[in-house]
């Protein structure tokens, strides 16, 4: 590899088509890494007593990408990361589809696991992406953790918490 090109160690993207996890793994794979960790967030059917039929994701793209870059830089300053790939899907997703994928490579597995956990935890609170739940009873609502009461036409989810992967 010609180091003069200083290829970015990060691949960060918002996508409207299904996420190709194989490409993310390929991006982070490096002879300097002994570990690759891949996290996938997937669309779950049951949250408390609600049955989800689909999710709809929306993002404020310029800020979402800037925040993803900031998170990746933070992770690399805390762990000896080789490469990071993050893709978040937007639009309507059906059950079991992948909404977010994070791949991390590092010399040893502990660092990759820790950085991967950090990246998904922080992404969920800092990156401006929102999900709207569509439920089996025909109602729907945007999920906004911390709002006292969801005043939209749909019902608020139990306890107002965002569904956790």
């Amino acid at each position: 590899m010609d180091e003069a090109f200083f290829p970015s160690p990060f691949h960060l993207s918002l996508v409207t088509e299904p996420i190709h996890t194989e490409r993310l793994i390929q991006f982070v794979t490096s002879p300097r890494a002994g570990a690759v960790v891949l996290f996938l967030g997937t669309v779950r059917e049951v949250t408390g007593d609600r049955i989800t039929t689909s999710l709809e994701y929306e993002a404020y793209a310029p800020m979402a990408l800037a925040q993803m870059e900031e998170l990746a830089e933070e992770a690399r300053s805390r762990w000896p990361i080789e490469r990071i790939a993050i893709e978040h899907r937007l639009g309507t997703l059906q059950l079991t589809e992948c909404s977010v994928a994070i791949a991390v490579s590092s010399p040893h597995r502990k660092q990759a696991f820790e950085a991967g956990q950090f990246l998904i935890d922080e992404l969920k609170v800092r990156v401006p992406v929102w999900k709207k739940e569509h439920w089996a009873d025909g109602t729907s609502a945007w999920i906004h953790p911390g709002l006292p009461e969801n005043p939209s036409h749909g019902h608020a989810p139990e306890h107002g918490h965002a569904p956790e992967h």
Binding site: A59, V127, W130, A141, L147, E149, H165
Partner: protein
């Protein structure tokens, strides 16, 4: 003297406002906090979530004490829920 601020909504804020964007007049040298109050007057449907709305200019969040300028393009949204 007044200035106009372009504001763009996301997620529940967009749903409650019933529009993706609007223009709000503010007194010159108005701050984000003034915009928050003006938004409640212009769009009463936003009042229940008004204290929880986050505001951003470009790619970073701004607080209520941030000064705005004529033609500023502000984005507003409730807490995030990606992943």
């Amino acid at each position: 003297m007044t200035m106009t601020i372009d504001i763009q909504f996301f997620a529940l804020a967009k749903e409650l406002a019933g529009t993706e964007q609007m223009t709000i007049p503010l007194p010159e040298s108005g701050q984000v906090g003034d915009l928050r109050r003006a938004l409640g007057e212009a769009v009463p449907a936003l009042i229940p979530i008004l204290p929880h709305l986050l505001f951003a200019l470009g790619d970073s969040c701004v607080d209520d004490a941030t000064s705005l300028y004529p033609g500023a393009r502000v984005v507003t949204f409730p807490p995030v829920s990606g992943g």
